[in-house]
Symmetry: C3
């Protein structure tokens, strides 16, 4: 369901570091927002170094943008953004002052995955159970 | 007015498939949201395969993110997201379980195209007529 | 705090033009939204020309997407989007009819920078002062 896009200039992060950060974002999101890892996507966007600016000058920030469904409890969302920001610095070594994490959202009914409208936050279990039923029918 | 960004690893989709999907998204959006095709943008973002993860492992999902103006009727938005998800699987052959379509929105007054603030949903005709008037004046 | 993503096909803009546009977006945003330039990020996303479509055909629009914190006064946001659109055409020479500027937002409490939750609009000064205090303590 969620999509995290991590933007940083080419060659800032190694293949290993990207894999480790993707795994940790997946673990944290899964734990806090109650979504199986198989529904969590992480994409790295690596523009050429001359295409990333802070303060109007070429820079090397790490910008993480996550999309989630609207309606998660506020405390849960605050914990999510805090743990992702913390993981980003811990795993990449990029100082916190150069790391920006932003969570955006839109209503679950404006998103489709597996051919089905996403569940509202809190209704994941029924949605997932129904999915498994569908997959069994197919086999 | 809208922008659709389709993210999938490099070499997942052929040039022809991308063109066909862009044309179909444009047709569907134009029909449902009453916007001329000339105002509909589709961008493909193709990261290196090692930059796209699902469940913390390299994967090949098709992630489609659309931006539209806030305020379209709910039934219209539901139809839009359903038809785009359906077209994505039909045209690309990527199974529905690997296709995620998300629609985000912000108020029309926070967007400008052709030098003019976008119209609220439902007010497109007057806005477009005014635009044509302006272009005639210029010629 | 904000992130602006400018999308246009490869080779549409020179290195110099991109730097100039990044600097001007930074200046305009800093002035209108009262944020120091050191907190303003601009990223250029340059897909291959066959990956950008308008009206279902390959095209060369300039699509600017900005993320800001929710809650800025409406007049301020209107001025922001207008000045960015105007700067984009003035600096790049791309005609206004091919330039789309969209501002998206989410609540400040869903974003973290420098390890701290972002301030609500209007509360930047106290937040920045606290940050400087922290940095002094570190040295």
């Amino acid at each position: 369901m969620p999509v995290y896009t991590c933007t940083t200039p080419q060659s800032t992060l190694s293949v290993e570091t990207k894999a480790e950060l993707a795994a940790e974002i997946t673990r944290v999101h899964s734990m806090i927002n109650h979504v199986p890892g198989t529904y969590i996507n992480v994409v790295f966007h690596e523009p050429a170094p001359e295409n990333v600016f802070t303060d109007g000058k070429p820079a090397r920030p790490l910008l993480i943008n996550g999309w989630v469904r609207t309606g998660h409890p506020a405390a849960q969302s605050s914990q999510l953004v805090a743990e992702i920001a913390s993981a980003a610095t811990r795993i990449t070594g990029i100082p916190a002052r150069m790391v920006l994490v932003v969570i955006q959202n839109s209503p679950a009914h404006l998103a489709i995955e597996g051919g089905r409208v996403l569940p509202e936050p809190g209704e994941e279990e029924a949605w997932l159970a129904e999915q498994e039923g569908t997959e069994s029918d197919e086999s």
